[in-house]
């Protein structure tokens, strides 16, 4: 019965929450602070939900609690309508996890990894074999089904783990840093498969510290730091929420001239909301980002004038819309990595 419901909800997205989290807290023994500090959110069925934050923000612990591997200290969480703390056995049937590092069974072939996983979840054998064929094909692994996972690269292992996770048709799929450490081609492949899953209405929860990944894949993004949820909205809304709707990046060469007065003058230009020094300037270059209300291009000439008057040379200009990274820096006061 639960399987029928699972398939139905996965196929047609409804507004029923696939995941609910209420005032969830995790404190590890002998730790001075809570790893997860009273977070609440709900994820709708069929939604792609991104948990964004630096290492140690509490993302992995949050996912650990939702996937029954970490016992909550307090609060409630449910997946597919099943409370993960009070009924973990039932909850495990409704979720699947794709970890960051391969945890494939090395003693058995890729195909057996898939079919044994299905067997653990009570999928009848004939159905499991058919589904394994289908998924191996879809993930470009058809020819490698009989190979043991030792021989696999990170990207291939990642694909196998996603395929394995789908064998029991979970309602909610959790992916921990799904493309960290993958080469660009493998990353695109994984993104394409995840987009397909989204289109089929599978609820995806992914943790990432890759802003681009979050912006590309997620319907909504929760930004976490120090165990707390700082913000939760669509990537567009998060970026719109930033003061300054566009940005102007300037690369400067100071040639010994004082930087501070020039920066103050830049920040005082009309339309400039705020100014941030950004990293990655390189040799003797400074990079600053102006957040601007209005047209960024109109500020290029005045900015060049301001700099020239103060003995600084302008070496590069880049106009941009704010990214999730800017949102993150704005919320936490620091860069992600």
């Amino acid at each position: 019965m639960s399987r029928g419901t699972a398939t139905a909800t996965a196929a047609e997205p409804t507004s029923a929450p696939a995941v609910t989290v209420e005032e969830l807290v995790k404190r590890y023994p002998k730790m001075p602070v809570n790893a997860v500090d009273g977070i609440s959110f709900a994820v709708s069925s069929g939604e792609v939900f991104g948990l964004l934050g630096p290492n140690g923000a509490g993302k992995t612990t949050t996912v650990g609690m939702l996937t029954t591997r970490v016992r909550p200290t307090s609060g409630r969480a449910s997946v597919g309508g099943v409370d993960v703390a009070t009924d973990p056995v039932h909850a495990r049937g409704r979720l699947a996890v794709v970890p960051q590092r391969s945890n494939l069974d090395r003693s058995i072939s890729i195909r057996r990894n898939l079919t044994f996983h299905a067997a653990y979840h009570g999928v009848p054998r004939a159905e499991a074999e058919a589904r394994a064929d289908e998924l191996l094909e879809q993930f470009g692994l058809r020819e490698r089904g009989d190979v043991k996972p030792d021989m696999f690269s990170g990207g291939q292992a990642q694909r196998v783990m996603i395929a394995r996770a789908l064998m029991h048709q979970p309602q909610v799929l959790f992916l921990d840093e799904p493309t960290t450490g993958l080469d660009p081609a493998a990353r695109l492949f994984v993104w394409d498969r995840l987009t397909e899953l989204r289109d089929r209405g599978v609820t995806l929860i992914l943790t990432t510290h890759d802003m681009h990944e979050a912006a590309t894949l997620a319907d909504r993004v929760a930004i976490m730091d120090h165990g707390k949820l700082l913000s939760l909205d669509t990537p567009e809304a998060l970026m719109r929420s930033l003061p300054g709707s566009s940005t102007l990046d300037l690369a400067l060469v100071s040639d010994g001239a004082a930087l501070e007065p020039a920066l103050e003058a830049l920040a005082a230009l009309p339309g400039t909301e705020r100014l941030e020094a950004i990293e990655g300037g390189g040799d003797q270059q400074e990079r600053v980002r102006l957040y601007i209300e209005g047209e960024a291009s109109e500020l290029i000439a005045p900015a060049a004038t301001v700099l020239a008057e103060r003995g600084l040379a302008l070496r590069g200009v880049e106009i941009g819309a704010p990214t999730l990274e800017d949102v993150f820096i704005h919320l936490t006061g620091r860069a992600l990595r």
Binding site: M1, Y28, R71, V89, H90, R92, G93, D105, H117
Partner: protein, 265 residues
């Protein structure tokens, strides 16, 4: 309500059998390795202590028959321990392979129970294989049909004892310490478990008698002797049963707690 509970039990039962099926499948596909693992050590012990030393006149006539029940005990305990401990240390500490089973729709305790059941079954099979191996090496092995029930009981206890030890070690030890811990545990266990000598005969070495009395494997060896060579002085089987039930219970208790600690934060 009760229908729901029955469905839940069926789900867990299916998951348990599937995980057991996975272990059996892996053992089957790796059968030569399994056989080498379980046969070689007792085979060489039998060969050297039972055959070679006897042929050279260093051991008394009949020693091989005294040794054989002890080696059955040794094989059961050691195989149970190795089958459980080594993979568990690696799976929890390094490959994380166990995660897929921990996320199967079954309670964490059942995952541990499957490990114990499988390791014990392998240990019983390994000890069973020792009987034809013993006949092959020694020409004959001591055998009493009336001792078979006690032998079977001792075999089950020995396997469970080994699995219990394996569960405790497997959940306590980190992969970096595996070598050290196994040499610290394995060798003393191997030589103080009365598999190569009967316990009552140790009266001439009282301190060693005390040491061996602390090794629960001693009671497996002694019950094996009570079953197969009752003419050799041995500890009373009921004492062995009491000690073994107690030690197995304690080890399983500690081991399952350790398993939960490793499986769930």
């Amino acid at each position: 309500m009760s229908a729901g509970a029955a469905t839940a039990r069926a789900t867990q039962g299916r998951a348990f059998l599937a995980v057991l099926g996975r272990d059996v499948f892996v053992t089957w596909t790796d059968l030569p390795v399994f056989l080498a693992q379980v046969i070689l050590q007792p085979l060489f012990l039998l060969l050297v202590f039972g055959k070679v030393l006897g042929a050279l006149g260093y051991t008394r006539h009949g020693y091989a028959h005294l040794l054989f029940p002890g080696l059955l005990a040794l094989t059961a305990v050691i195989t149970g321990m190795q089958t459980l401990a080594f993979p568990l240390v690696i799976e929890f500490g390094w490959t994380k392979e166990i995660e897929d089973r921990l996320l199967a729709p079954m309670s964490t305790g059942l995952v541990a129970a499957e490990k114990v059941l499988f390791a014990s079954a392998r240990a019983i099979v390994a000890a069973g294989i020792m009987i034809p191996v013993g006949i092959l090496v020694l020409g004959s092995v001591p055998w009493r049909w009336s001792g078979v029930p006690l032998l079977a009981l001792a075999l089950v206890f020995g396997s469970l004892l080994g699995s219990g030890l394996g569960l405790v070690l497997g959940t306590l030890v980190t992969p970096t310490r595996i070598n050290m811990v196994f040499s610290l545990v394995f060798t003393p266990l191997l030589f103080t478990g009365c598999s190569q000598y009967p316990w009552p005969s140790l009266s001439r070495l009282p301190w060693f008698k005390v040491v061996t009395a602390c090794n629960p494997m001693t009671y497996v060896s002694e019950s094996m002797r009570a079953a197969l060579v009752p003419s050799v002085p041995h500890i009373a089987p009921w004492v062995c049963v009491v000690v073994l039930v107690g030690s197995i219970g304690a080890l399983m208790g500690i081991g399952v707690r350790g398993f939960y600690r490793r499986a769930i934060d």
